[in-house]
Structures are given as C-alpha cells and as structure tokens.
Assembly symmetry: C2
C-alpha cells in the first residue's frame, strides 16, 4: 500500500487532475432472441486498465462498459450497457461535459434486424439472419467534437496501419491505438498488447510488447501531451 | 470448514461414490470471423453447481465447459471448449466410460456456415449471415445410450412442458430439467432457479424457486433413485 501511494504521488498528476475522462470498454452484445446474441471477444482489459490508471492520476473517470468478466476499477463511475445503441446513449449523455474520450470498447458493427420475442426453435437445416448496421458511435463523436480529445482503437486482422489511418481520418480522431489481434501477446484476452499509436499529422509510434497496464500509462502520457499542446 | 465437512459426511455418498459422471455447462461460441461470434446467455452456474455437488458425493466428475466467468470447482476434471463441435468431441470421447451424463450446457443450435478468415469490414448497410445446423449432441448420446443415465436441460421461453416433453422423448433421455428462462429468479445468470423435473413415465415434479445449489442436490438425489432402481 505504501509503495502504491508513493507511486501515485510521483505520477504526473498535473495535466489529468480534475479532467473528466470517458472510457468505453468491453464488447457489446446484440440479441437475436431472449437467449442468443452476437458478441465479440473483447475482454475489457485494455479499457479497464486505462480507466484505472486515469483515476489514479486524479481524473474524474466515467467507464461505460459492455460485458466483461472484470471487476470495475475503484474510484471510477461505471455504467454497464449491453448493446451498441445502449452504449451510444450512455456516451452521448456524458460527451459534452468530457475533456477526453477514449473508446476502447469493441462495438458490434451490425445487429440482427429483428429480435425474436421467443427462443428461435431449430426447424430448418439452415437459418438466414439479416443484420443491419449499428450506429457508428465514434463517427458521431468525431462530428460533434468541440474541445474534446478523442481517442479510438482499431483491432484489425490485416492491413493494420492502412485500416487504422483511414479510421483516424474518417472519424476525426486525435489519436488511434492500433493493434493486430492475430499476433500472440496482443489483442483480446491477452494481458499484454503490441500497439502502434497513430496521430493526425501522420506520425506513427510503435510500442513493443508490454503489459496492457503499461500501454495504458503511455496512452495517458500522450493524451497529456495533446492536452498540454492545446493549452 | 467444519460445517462443510460434517455436511459432506452426512450426504448420501453411497450411490454416487466412484460413479463416473459427465457434466456439460456454460454456453458454446460459434465464430463468424476472428473477432465475432454467436453466443448465448448461459452463465454455467447450474452445471457448475451440479459438478461440484456430485464431486462432494464422491463421484468422479468430468466437466466439459463452454465459456463462463466461473472458477472450475475443486476436485473436478475440467475440459474447456468453445464450439458445439468441440463440445461434441469432448463428450463423445468420455461417453462410453460414464455412468451418468448431465447436459446442462446451452449448445448453439446453429453456427455460421462460413467462418471469415479476416475481420468482416462494415461495408454494406445490411449483412446476411447464413447459419447451418450444429450437430445435436444430446440426440447422438440418446441414440448411443447403453447403460448410461442421460439427463438433459430445456431452457424455454414458451410452452415449457410441451417443448421439454418432446425433447425428452426425441432424445431418449431418462430425465429432463425444464425451466422457463423468462421468469424472474430462474434461468441464465440468476443464482436461483425454478424448474420442473420430467421423467420417462410422464410424471412431472415441480420445484419451487430455490438456489441453483439446492436444485443441483435434488437433481442428484433423483439420479441416485434412477441408478438404484436400475440396480
């Protein structure tokens, strides 16, 4: 406990102290019927690590979380949500009052067009599911952006840099954290990550494999730099 | 700890001691691509409670488990699986040597016909997903049944008794545990359950709402009766 306290005192509280930071984490679930859903493999570890680290630096942290098996970090305001639409509502309600938004959640791009009221019985040999697009929360936040620093994540399985740079531009982000989820020691469920940090000026910072908690600290350091530059 | 020990000593070890019991629990996940999957809301609590209680009664327990956020119970042999097909393989490998099989898992009835090698990008306004039937593990076990006691679960949202009785007959089960997952205090994620136990002779035993651990004990008591009658 003493070590933790000293550690906390030595951190660069300055820039984030009192800042309002919204973090999203975990994956959304899109129901097909009362029993089944479309999900994704986000463990929530990266987002929870960022939320916890930001709170330790003195920020007021709001964590909007999809399903994870994790305990919410201490000292953080947590709102649990299930679907992309629920996450959208929760994020939009807080957005105007936030200084920084970090969208680490894996939000489903598509949801079933119709949700069956009762459990779908297995009758036919095949079942065709029509999915429709979910709202693009990050794009909406980018379009509404005023004073906020907006940070996104890109979990890709191919053409990491190209896909991430396109996402940064299209969604009007200030920074994007990109990781190739197919690498061992990176992505979903791993305790470590291998990420690239990409900025609006086109610069790319490649980080080596490190614990997600360490990635969280570096992401927050870079956000502090962005806040300082903005003045 | 002393209470637990006394409790353990007072249990009817006799019938289950040394019996080999296979329990399945949790939900399966059927991948669409490296990131997304079709899942279901099984928490694994009911199956894990049965596995733990059977081990405490002296049975040799094999737990074949899909995704859950639970810690495997002590003294139980656990095999983690992801898809219905993996669960099928794991169960069939152990089936011949088992005296009792309790299938509490929520196995996906359908899986995506094709698994995309890379993360599906959101291009179109809609996405059509073709699902194909998964193997029906319980039906296969029913057809292969020799000396085993075979117990199934039915999680329904309507016509509970009708659906469960049909399942009991079609799959050649000895008993089925049926619950309406729409009731408060029953089904997925709840710590309690409200179940009906249905037998081959058509008799139905309705249990009131009670903790899943208590349901587990009653299910095992009834299985002991079935084993004793069989002699």
């Amino acid at each position: 406990i003493i070590v933790a306290k000293v550690d906390e005192l030595l951190r660069p509280h300055g820039v984030l102290a009192g800042k309002r930071i919204l973090v999203t984490a975990g994956g959304t679930r899109e129901p097909l019927d009362p029993v089944r859903y479309l999900g994704n493999r986000s463990s929530g570890k990266m987002g929870y690590a960022i939320a916890e680290a930001a709170a330790l630096r003195g920020a007021e942290v709001i964590l909007v979380s999809g399903s994870t098996g994790l305990n919410p970090p201490r000292g953080v305001l947590v709102k649990m949500v299930e679907t992309a639409e629920e996450m959208r509502q929760a994020v939009l309600a807080e957005y105007a009052a936030c200084d920084v938004v970090i969208k680490a959640a894996a939000v489903a791009d598509y949801r079933p067009k119709e949700i069956a009221e009762h459990k779908i019985k297995k009758t036919g040999e095949t079942l065709t599911l029509v999915l429709e697009k979910n709202p693009d929360i990050l794009r909406e936040l980018g379009a509404l952006k005023r004073h906020q620093i907006l940070v996104g994540f890109a979990a890709e399985t191919q053409d990491l840099l190209g896909n991430a740079q396109e996402k940064l531009a299209k969604k009007n982000l200030d920074m994007i954290v990109a990781n190739d989820v197919t690498l061992p020691g990176a992505g979903f469920n791993a305790d470590t990550n291998i990420v690239k940090l990409i900025y609006r000026d086109g610069s790319v910072e490649e980080l080596e494999q490190m614990p997600k908690k360490r990635v969280a600290e570096i992401v927050l350091d870079r956000i502090c730099d962005l806040l300082t530059k903005r003045g």
